[in-house]
Amino acid sequence: MSFIEVKEVSKTFKVNKRSAGIPGMIANMFVPKFENKKAVDGISFDIESGEMVGFIGPNGAGKSTTIKMLSGILCPDSGSISVNSYVPYRQRKEYVAGIGVVFGQKSQLQWDLPVIDSFELLKAIYRIPEEMYKKNLKRYTDMLDMGGFINQPVRQLSLGQRMRSDIVASLLHSPKIVFFDEPTIGVDVIGKETIRSFIRELNEKDKITMIFTTHDMQDIEQTCKRILIIDKGSLLYDGSLQEIRNKYGTTRQLIAEFNEDTEVTPIENVMIGDPKDRKRSFTFDNSVVDVNALMHEILGKYSIRDITVTEPEIETIIRKIYNKEVFA
């Protein structure tokens, strides 16, 4: 049995549909119309202990809903979830004592208390032993550089400071599993870098199992080996990031800058762009066309000033998957 097992899980929300304006409002008072919205539609996956999995998908795909079901907040309508042999929703109290969850969009800290007081409260709630608490607090606050604002009330913190506080709060009780739902939302470039390396270290050193949702592909590239892609409640892809690259990232673009205006003869399997400032693009699939041979051919035939080869960014590939231009 896998550490985390999700089988055919679905969750539907009932949404009140009413037409606009006052007539719509009145009609709705007497005959409310409901529409069922399938937020998660029969997804299945397994995650092993110590894995770090990126969970991505466009807005409204069902990521947060899945995380909420995994963390025992929401009850699935059908299907089964087992994490570390607990059924999250049914054994909520015992289960949540061993997990950590961060919802980037919503702080779980006490709004009006200094950060450190929130931490002390968590220490009592989770009954964290003094020594472990001290050790974790020191280690995490140092790593995330929180010394400057730990005594400030949460309501006075900047978004990035609050996020770091929330991350530490979720880890004080040394959970073996952590769910991060957009922990880098609204964080600046340096802050993101700090959070990423922090997350990486937790996974590598402490062997914490993690699921990590984000809209920033850099986050995923730098932390996760495996990704799950979800859209409209269904799983589109489950595999390694490298595999996606190998499969869909084979497009290459060679840009050649000519010394003078030159006519180019067609090359098999290569799409040649229109000239622009004496530059032309050669687009091809590197599983079909050999880059070396192509370069040789071009350099041999024409007088070339400069030549570059680019590979597509992971964002481009993911965008294509979201747009159904390629099927994962």
């Binding site: 929300f13 947060s64 907040i73 009850c75 109290k93 919802f103 779980q108 409260l121 709630i125 009954r127």
Partner: protein
């Protein structure tokens, strides 16, 4: 010890309460003003009479002082759950390894402890000094009174607990809470001493949990009920607490499956 977690919640709400100084003084004033109004109404009705149906004016006064005194620290928060469902913070609550009800009770008790010390005691001192209260019927009555006060709070809390569970199905529970509180105000004896209710009403009230909140403790304090009747009073209080909490728990389990968290 598991208690420590709940103690932490209670302590937090105790400390939080102390931040609202103005609200606090207004609360004491509110209790005293209501007390004076109720007592003066009855004093006017009594006129020169010594007793009405065997109830003396000093018993009426004592009823009001005790009921309003209890009310001043019987803390329930009717909107505890609906507020958290409404703004989505229920999600964070569910992530804590404690029972939601235990946590709600701990929060309420923390506030209640604050109110007991800083609202009940000063208000009582003023009331006893300036209005006067009958002495308890005896030392035993006093002890049993304190015990039945605890159960009285239990009944009040359980009623709120059960009604709060409708928050899972209703976006706004304000209306049902208002109706519930009207019933409590009128039928618990805090506004109209239940001695003066017509016989037919008394027979109805007997079958409701409302008299168990304030009236049963008052009756014990004054020695109006004795022996088997006191035992009956306690049994009633306990039965109501068990029933209301039981129904509340069933609704809680049903509601939890339906729970929808607002916001991303």
């Amino acid at each position: 010890m598991k208690m420590k977690a709940y103690m932490a919640f209670a302590k937090k709400s105790f400390l939080q309460k102390s931040a609202y100084r103005m609200e606090h003084w207004m609360g004491i004033l509110n209790t005293l003003i209501r007390l004076v109004i109720y007592v003066e109404i009855y004093r006017a009705l009594y006129g020169a009479r010594e007793a009405v149906d065997g109830i003396t004016m000093s018993m009426v006064t004592t009823n009001f002082i005790l009921s309003l005194g209890m009310e001043s620290f019987f803390v329930v928060d009717d909107f505890y759950l609906s507020y958290r469902i409404g703004n989505g913070s229920i999600a964070s609550e569910m992530l804590l390894p404690v029972s939601f009800h235990g946590r709600m009770l701990a929060d309420n008790l923390g506030t209640a402890a604050f109110k007991l010390i800083f609202h009940f005691i000063p208000a009582m001192l003023v009331a006893v000094l300036f209005i006067g209260i009958s002495a308890p019927a005896g030392a035993a009555s006093m002890g049993l009174f304190v015990l039945s006060v605890l159960f009285g709070y239990g009944v009040l809390w359980s009623i709120s607990f059960m009604f709060q569970m409708f928050s899972f199905w209703l976006i706004n529970v304000w209306a049902i809470m208002t109706i519930k509180n009207v019933f409590i105000n009128v039928l618990s004896g805090a506004m109209i001493p239940l001695w003066f209710m017509p016989e037919s009403m008394k027979n109805v009230i007997k079958f409701t949990p409302f008299e168990s909140i304030y009236f049963t403790p008052v009756q014990i304090y004054l020695g109006k009920i004795t022996g088997a009747e006191i035992a009956g009073g306690f049994i009633k209080q306990i039965i109501w607490i068990v029933c209301l909490l039981g129904i509340g728990m069933i609704l809680w389990h049903k509601g939890q499956k339906k729970l929808v968290v607002q916001g991303g």
